[in-house]
């Protein structure tokens, strides 16, 4: 029980670190990595909470959910990377343009 809660708490911590980095890091690659860290934190929480004590079987449903979540995370990461590369081609920088710039077109 304690081990499971420890890992679940760690997952939540990773989730928070990821969201924080997403907000403060301007570089797009960092932002995408931050989302992946946050996602891994969520998955870790799922897996940790699926543990039902020594001797009994682990709940398989959260594991199935995490598998689905990983598939989604891979595809969204791919989409984000493609868009970042496209933005780099167009602006020459791996960061989102400031909004004032955006309106001045």
């Amino acid at each position: 029980m304690n081990t499971s809660l420890f890992y679940a708490g760690e997952g939540v911590l990773l989730f928070c670190i990821g969201l924080f980095a997403l907000m403060v890091r301007p570089h797009l690659l960092y932002k995408i990595l931050a989302l992946n860290v946050a996602g891994s934190g969520v998955f870790l929480t799922y897996i940790a909470l699926a543990f039902r004590g020594n001797g009994s079987l682990t709940d398989p449903v959260p594991q199935a959910m995490v598998l689905t979540g990983i598939v989604i995370a891979v595809s969204t990461t791919a989409l984000a990377l493609v868009l970042s590369l496209k933005l780099k081609q167009l602006t020459g920088a791996m960061r989102l343009p400031a909004r004032e710039e955006e309106g001045s077109e």
Binding site: L22, L35, V42, I72, L79, L87, L90
Partner: protein, 493 residues
Amino acid sequence: MTVESGAMHAWPALLLLPVVAAYFAYLLPGFAALIGIMTSGVNAVTVMVLGGLVAQHGVFSHTVGGWEAPLGIGLRVDGMAAVMLLAAGMVALAGSVYALNYYSAKQQSREGRQFWPLWLFLIGAINLLFVAADLFNLYVTLELLGIAGVALVTMGGGRDGVAAALRYLLVSLAGSLCYLLGVGLIYSTYATVDLSLLANVTATPSLGIALALMTSGLIFKAGLFPFHFWLPPAHAKAPAPVSAMLSALVVEAAFYLILRLWFELAPMAITTFAQVLLGAMGAAAVLWGTVSALRAERLKMMVAYSTVAQLGYLFLAIPLMFKAGFTAWSGAVLLILAHALAKGAMFMTAGTILQAAGHDRIQDLRGTVQHLPLTMITFALAGVSLIGLPPSGGFSAKWLLLNAAIYHSQWWAVIVLLGGSLMTAAYVFRVVGFTFRHESVTTHTPQISALQEWPAFALAAAAVVLGLFANGITELLSVGTPLEGPLLYGSVP
């Protein structure tokens, strides 16, 4: 009778049809437009028949592959889902007809080929989101919707389009992760994610945390003030039919989920603080969105800011729902329907004007009515519903919300509702004022096909006459509603 019984069993497959058609549209690019238009036609008929059936026979449920909850995936259509499906189906059909010409006129076959599969994915994802009956499946549909939406926004092209799409994607993913963490907490507490099994569960601290996480994720996705920063550029840069669908339904889908979570899971677990917080953010969104719309220099930006404001009304209704029950709830859902029709029409007219004039600077749009009389009439009609003048759907919806607020002495809500409507009138008439001004200098403008003008007009006309059918809609909404209370439609005591 055979049609009825057929529809009663085939509706899950029919709602899934756009997803299947999307693959065919991708594999057979030559027929993409044909597949797209036929699928959205079938989809529109399906949601209309389904709405009628739900009104007659009550809630429909289906267990996918015969697997029962808690393990299986359930699909369910109640009154609210039926109304949302109806709104989506109508805007999607109008958008498809509009897109037929929008993309052939541009002579960019590559863009057209990319458009149809993604567009069909968007329609299919939104269908599935409205009927999904378990929390995890809702996460999957949210992501499907987000990916299709982001990819369609990039088609707006250019640096700004890609930047807007990327910002939208990052915000949307952060919101989804918050939601997903909440789902995990709920599963670990109640060992199920099925909405009907979770209905009215006993509140625990972890339920409160989970609901807070899921709600904040969905608020990001709904673009509620002050998390609206990504919304106006994304909606304004997208191609016109995409803007229409995103503004009319995709952001409202997040609000729809908040309604489901709050009122079906454990309405008792929602603290007064949370209600007031969401209501206050809604009121701030109304003011901020309307003022930004008034100050906007470009037409599409103005329409996008108007979406921020209209979403504010929906969140404003949440504290009212806890007091007035069904009246405020049906008012909010009716407002989603009315807004979907009006905003769909408005974004399509904005796209047409942009195409015809080559720009959308509001001040330089003098005399547009001379070239595009039908489009400008459409814009004005959509404006009538946004402002909330009778007999539009916007009027009936705001009337219900006003009644709910007055009956329970929520004067702050009355002030925001009425003040917001006045300011909405100001920004709508600002555009009408410029475009209806006579201009003697005739500039050359490209011919716009009727295929592009009439679908927008049909949506706007539907929004204006919707008020006459408000009774039928509220009756449909009462099917399977989690909220009680009389419909306060008459005079206030």
